[in-house]
Amino acid sequence: MSGVHDMGGRREEFGPVDKSQHELEDWERIADAVNYVLNAKGHKTTDEMRRAIEGLEAYREMSYYERWAAAAEKLVVEKGLLTQGEIDERAAALEKRWSGG
């Protein structure tokens, strides 16, 4: 059985190709760049990233760079570079700051 990401020839996905283009937000550029830098510095590989993306439970509900962000987070925790707790805490602090809290 093929994974959720394996789309080739999958009939239930057939439909008109939506050609609209969304403008990248800053955080998406950062998600892209953080991934590249982590690869370039040998902290992870493209294949590890793919495995992490393909294993995301909410794959179909997530946007493209949401998958990248989630997979990068999963990998840095898995590799012991960061802990889930410190990421959760920092993300909450950033959200609070942005909302003017």
Partner: protein, 208 residues
């Protein structure tokens, strides 16, 4: 950016902001604090990607149309051909050029994700990453191309190339008729991003 005067464009909340916006920034900050990467490296990579464009591919095509020796090099060793035009190909994995001829039309897809020669051509268009394109391009490529306004004659075979994490593709389209005497720069302008994926072909210039 900076419209509220705080001067920290990266920290301005946006209505459409995803919960992942805070999470990836948290990850970046923490990695930087631990010395695993620097903000400077991330910023440099953002700028590098912004500077990558399909125009690099259009230049490769225009040179190949005008210089048979260069075309041979492009088909033999695409990264070496990039270097010859001063296009940085150091960031790309294996990079292969496939040639459209009167005998075959080529179409590029990545059924598994979004593999694309990003390091040369920049980010792929959103539709390239869509489930509809990824599922259909290998099953009914002619119908997909028709949606892009490209009708491939029934007797012209179509070759679909499925990209991977290790190999990325570029289509070398055929030079349109009516382009004799055009400069390399003028020729490059006929080559759109979609021509390099295979969902379009360069159009004959309008007659004046």
């Amino acid at each position: 950016m900076g419209e509220n005067g705080h001067g920290h464009p990266h920290e301005e909340p946006k209505q459409e902001r995803s919960p992942w916006a805070a999470r990836i920034r948290a990850v970046e900050e923490l990695l930087a604090e631990k010395g695993l990467l620097t903000h400077g490296e991330v910023e440099a990579q953002v700028r590098y990607m912004e500077a990558r464009s399909y125009e690099n591919g259009a230049r490769l095509v225009a040179r190949a149309w005008t210089d048979p020796g260069f075309k041979a090099l492009l088909l033999e060793d695409t990264k070496a051909a990039c270097s010859e035009l001063g296009i940085d190909a150091s960031g790309s994995v294996e990079f292969v050029t496939v040639e459209n001829t009167p005998e075959v039309h080529n179409l590029i897809v990545c059924t598994l994700c979004s593999c694309y020669p990003r390091a040369i051509l920049g980010r792929p268009p959103d539709w390239y990453k869509s489930p509809a394109y990824r599922s259909r391009a290998v099953a009914e490529p002619r119908a997909v191309m028709r949606e892009f306004g490209l009708e491939i004659p029934a007797d012209l075979p179509v070759a679909v190339h499925d990209s991977s994490a290790d190999v990325r593709y570029l289509v070398l389209p055929m030079r349109p008729r009516g382009t004799q005497g055009m400069s390399e720069e003028e020729l490059a302008e006929l080559v759109t991003r979609d021509c390099l994926i295979g969902t379009a072909v360069p159009r004959e210039p309008a007659r004046v």
